[in-house]
């Protein structure tokens, strides 16, 4: 079941403040794209939402349940990292089976589920291949199948197509969009490519230069024309990139 996500007043300091304060709410089944200049704290925010890192301030709730730094909440969160993070010594199927173990499914169910999501990701017939023997795009799709196989309440994706070439990137965007329609998961998708975000997201959140705040939040529901949206967002991101290079947001 997809659940709603609420981020309230989340901030993070490493040596300097990286995220100032970010609040937003996402409805169950939304496809949210998180945009912003490089190094503005998008990945950090995603890691906080996923419970991989504790926030310095603020709170994250998933379906009303708090996410704490250790990730020990009962909600299921699937993560697709920038790299595939598959176990190279396990076949694609075994990789997808492995993450279902903590859910208590028996071996036959794990295998069925693994095969179903591998097929959904367009990997039917490659179940017994090792990661080193398939292409980068196929590995990344396996990572997506793995994240889906736990039937996550929330799916986090951190620039999952960053390592792919333009053509594969386009194919993967369509795949993810299709999988989202078919599974109805809540997705939080980090990217710095505006065209990508406009092409696949239902809600777009643009973060400011470091320390990050929300620069703008728009619904990508067709009320604003796509070309204009892309133009506006491009203008904004250029401003933020400049601001970040000149050393921080004004008034902070």
């Amino acid at each position: 079941m997809a659940v709603a996500l609420e981020v309230s007043g989340v901030g993070k300091d490493f040596l300097i403040p990286v995220i100032d304060s970010v609040s937003f709410a996402v409805e169950a089944g939304d496809f949210v794209c998180l945009l912003g200049p490089n190094g503005c704290g998008k990945t950090t925010l995603l890691r906080i939402v996923g419970g991989l890192e504790a926030p310095s301030r603020g709170a994250v709730t998933l379906g009303g349940e708090p996410v704490v730094g250790t990730g020990r909440h009962t909600r299921k969160v699937g993560v697709v990292f920038q790299e595939d993070r598959l176990l190279p010594w396990r076949t694609l199927r075994e990789n997808v089976e492995l993450v279902q173990k903590p859910l208590g499914a028996d071996a036959a169910t794990r295998r069925r589920t693994a095969d179903r999501y591998l097929r959904l990701a367009g990997l039917g017939g490659f179940e017994d291949y090792y990661p080193a023997h398939v292409s980068g795009g196929m590995r990344q799709r396996t990572a997506i199948a793995r994240a889906l196989a736990i039937e996550p309440d929330l799916l986090l994706m951190d620039e999952p197509f960053g390592a792919l070439d333009a053509q594969n990137r386009r194919i993967m965007q369509n795949e993810v969009r299709r999988i989202w329609r078919e599974t109805g998961r809540t997705i939080l998708f980090v990217t710095h490519a505006i065209e990508e975000a406009v092409a696949i997201g239902t809600t777009l959140i643009m973060l400011s230069a470091r320390p990050a705040r929300i620069r703008t939040l728009v619904r990508n529901d067709g009320r604003v024309e796509r070309a204009k949206l892309i133009d506006d967002l491009n203008t904004m991101i250029m401003e933020e990139v400049e601001r970040q290079q000149s050393g921080g947001a004004p008034g902070s």
Binding site: L52, L87, P102
Partner: protein, 251 residues
């Protein structure tokens, strides 16, 4: 097809070997059997010890000592690797300890083992243990450091249990390092234990080589050296290469 057979037989190597054997013939003829026995005498000696069964007796004795000394070293090395994995402090201690052991000469352990264990099988066993331990353990500790934090984090994301992470992520990362360490360690074990067998035991390849020298049977020194080389190459090809191939099917 012929090309593949040529590669498999290492034809150029065989050509070089033929030249070496021919040179050996000439030199043995010039210097005489005591200094340099002829290849034929060595071949004859080899046939003789295989026929009399002596080859099994001494090779078996050496291998049994290696099994105890080297086997013990592998067990202790695995323990050290585990400790290094569980605690950063322990890893530093293990690292420093291995640096000291790595810098200690074989001769130190041979002399000490004779003092401590007298003239018994325990001398070569102890020497083998002390020399191979740092080799296997250093490899394991390196393997422990190579376990990808990114994969462990993936395990955390999907809430794999500690046992599952150990089984699925840690062990497969480390095993290739263990096998590589064991391969080098076994070669060292054979060389070192044979050296330690010169003193105080009455079986083993080292003993029989030294004995052959004393009774002026130089060709038997060559024969036993040949046996050692064959044992070494056979274990490398049959055991370690097979295991490595099996373990790296996924590459």
């Amino acid at each position: 097809m012929t090309g593949r057979w040529a590669a498999r037989l290492h034809l150029p190597t065989l050509a070089v070997a033929a030249v070496v054997v021919a040179g050996w013939f000439l030199l043995s003829w010039r210097y005489g059997a005591f200094i340099l026995p002829s290849p034929l005498a060595v071949l004859h000696g080899l046939v003789e010890i295989v026929r009399s069964g002596e080859v099994w007796k001494h090779t078996g004795a050496s291998l049994a000592r290696i099994a105890v000394g080297f086997g013990g070293a592998v067990l202790v090395a695995v323990g050290m690797g585990l400790v290094a994995f569980l605690s950063r402090t322990a890893r530093v201690v293990v690292d420093d300890l291995l640096a000291v052991l790595n810098s200690t000469s074989v001769f130190v352990w041979i002399v000490l083992s004779i003092i401590w264990f007298g003239l018994s099988s325990w001398a070569p066993i102890f020497t083998t243990f002390m020399i191979t331990l740092p080799v296997v353990a250093s490899n394991l500790v390196e393997g422990v450091q190579s376990v990808a934090r990114r994969l462990l984090e993936m395990g955390d994301v999907y809430r794999l249990s500690g046992r599952e992470k150990f089984r699925a992520i840690v062990v497969p990362s480390i095993v290739p390092y263990l096998v590589a360490g064991m391969k080098v360690g076994f070669g060292l074990a054979l060389k070192v234990s044979v050296m330690a067998e010169i003193f105080g035991v009455t079986t083993g390849i080292g003993y029989v080589m030294n004995y052959s020298r004393e009774i002026l049977a130089t060709q038997m020194v060559f024969v036993w050296a040949l046996v050692m080389i064959l044992v070494m190459m056979a274990t490398d090809k049959l055991v370690f290469d097979t295991v490595t191939r099996r373990l790296t099917r996924w590459r």
